[in-house]
């Protein structure tokens, strides 16, 4: 069966976003120094991850940065085998959700673990990394 005729658009579009991070600057700066921090509301005590300057619980704009430590427990994971084209140069990766003491959960790659060894309940440690472009990010490794 032959394809019906179509018009291939000539007008291409490329999107790149300049994402503001001024209100979470402390997070990225701390990460560079090896510390994993997030925001805690100064008024009601709510700890949020991802960090946010304004409290989603009581709407207070006053927050402080607290250290989450390094240790977490694997809650769930997946091994992504079909990756987005913008990750074409990356080997298939494990994405895990880890839970820190106090209940804060974080999503990140799990590195250095074979997919068959990833299981809910195993101990994780968060580690800072730097992208090829020089941007800080973080991953989990086995504790």
């Amino acid at each position: 069966m032959s394809e019906p005729p179509s018009l291939r658009s000539r007008r291409e579009i490329t999107l790149r976003f300049e994402i503001p991070i001024s209100k979470t600057r402390e997070f990225w700066a701390s990460l560079k120094n090896g510390k994993f921090v997030t925001t805690k509301c100064s008024k009601c005590g709510q700890v949020s991850f991802p960090p946010q300057a304004d409290c989603p619980k009581c709407m207070s704009g006053e927050s402080q940065w607290v250290d989450l430590g390094r240790d977490a427990t694997l809650v769930t994971f997946t091994h992504v085998r079909i990756t987005p084209p913008s990750f074409a140069k990356v080997e298939p990766y494990i994405i895990a959700i880890g839970e820190f003491a106090g209940g804060v959960k974080v999503l990140a790659w799990l590195e250095g673990v074979k997919p068959e060894d990833a299981k809910p309940g195993i101990g994780l440690r968060v580690e800072p990394r730097t992208s090829a472009e020089g941007n800080p990010y973080y991953v989990f490794v086995r504790a």
Binding site: F49, T78, I95
Partner: protein, 386 residues
């Protein structure tokens, strides 16, 4: 307060529809729905279009669709609730009649997904969460999101990959009876289990396809509905809720809490319980999603969905037949069209027009469960013959 009924339905053939553009595709459903209802187009005060877009060339699908169908001049908007955009459109059209703004409104769902290559679509859908914290550094994918739930459900309740595969086999069994479905052939358990792993434990055959398609329903107030038709299908309950953008902020990964809240509201509004439901559609974008839906909707207890699918409780002849149109898995999942397509299916079932895949209708009540994103948006709609 007036009641609101579905008085006309329309549904395009789903699949890779390279023969039509978005206006032409929507027209197929709009024409059927208008003809089926018998309304005059000039009496339609409001046309709400569910469409997510970004993979097709038109930025303003609502006005493009209305222009093609001769509906320019009606009030209109495009609504977005990701894969639940169709149900959001239905709710918005329903509310416009309830509010007294007009007596007749239409909900249209349409999505053209195959105008860009499929890897671009993987890229775009992967961003359906929290971009900075999930995609920028970690390349999350849509199957990956649901795989997080699948692993947690398997770990907690002993649900197996075979149980997931059974959902796909059921979907294809009924899809084979639906002439509008993208896939109209049966598949085996072995075929599902042997298919390519996309995001472990989910495989290609655990996932719905990329689909072009449209669906439309005409809604009318009680007074107008009774003049138009002897078989109105009443919207008896509409429940909706949402959850966090970030997966890391979810309470658990064994069910969709937004769906539980939406279901509770819909049952309360319709004054029915899960035991009253004759037939349902569940949002099976991935097989795990259908299993979680059984539990979230109260069709079974938490952790018992695998048993339901093993025992055939969601097939014709079982406790509550689910997705007799083939579901998103076999019928196809044109994002914004899906919620409206589900309402069309349940209307057909309640009218007794579903042919070979007709469910026994005892209480005259059906349910639509439509999820946007990975439980980011949830809509449950209860329809009834009375």
């Amino acid at each position: 307060m007036t009641r609101v009924a579905i008085v006309g339905i329309g549904h395009s053939r789903f699949g890779r529809r390279t023969d039509v553009n978005i206006g032409e595709l929507a027209f197929e459903s709009i024409k059927q729905a208008v003809d089926d209802s018998g309304v005059d187009r000039k009496d339609i005060s409001n046309v709400v279009v569910g469409s997510m877009g970004s993979w097709s060339e038109e930025s303003l699908p609502a006005v493009v669709v209305n222009e093609y169908a001769g509906l320019s001049g009606a009030g209109t908007m495009r609504v977005e609730a990701a894969c639940a955009s169709g149900s959001a459109a239905l709710k918005s059209a329903y509310n416009s009649i309830l509010s007294g703004e007009g007596d007749v409104a239409m909900a249209v769902g349409v999505e053209k997904m195959t105008e860009v290559d499929s890897s671009t679509t993987v890229e775009l859908i992967g961003r359906a969460g929290s971009y900075t914290w999930e995609f920028e550094n970690y390349g999350m994918t849509f199957p990956g999101y649901y795989a997080l739930y699948a692993v947690a459900h398997m770990n907690r309740f002993g649900t197996t990959q075979e149980d997931l595969a059974r959902v796909a086999v059921k979907a294809h069994h009924y899809g084979a009876m639906n002439p509008l479905a993208q896939f109209q052939k049966e598949i085996t358990l072995e075929k599902v289990l042997g298919s390519q792993v996309v995001a472990w434990p989910l495989k290609l055959y655990d996932a719905c396809p990329l689909t072009d398609g449209s669906a439309a329903v005409v809604l009318a107030s009680e007074e107008v509905a009774k003049k138009l038709t002897d078989t109105p299908v009443w919207i008896r309950g509409v429940g909706y809720s949402s959850d966090s953008a970030n997966m890391s902020r979810r309470g658990s990964y064994v069910g969709l809490e937004a769906a539980v809240r939406a279901a509770r509201k819909a049952y309360a509004m319709a004054k029915v319980s899960p035991d009253d439901i004759d037939v349902a559609t569940a949002h099976d974008c991935f097989t795990i999603a259908e299993l979680m839906a059984y539990e979230d909707l109260g069709f079974c207890k938490k952790g018992e969905a695998a048993r339901m699918i093993r025992e055939g409780q969601t097939e014709i002849g079982g406790k509550i037949p689910v997705n007799l149109d083939g579901g998103l898995k076999a019928k196809g999942h044109p994002i914004g069209a899906t919620g409206v397509s589900m309402a069309v299916e349940i209307t057909k079932q309640l009218r007794g027009e579903a042919g070979k895949r007709q469910a026994p209708i005892k209480k005259g009540v059906g349910l639509v469960h439509n999820i946007g994103g990975t439980g980011h948006y949830a809509y449950v709609t209860i329809l009834s013959r009375s």
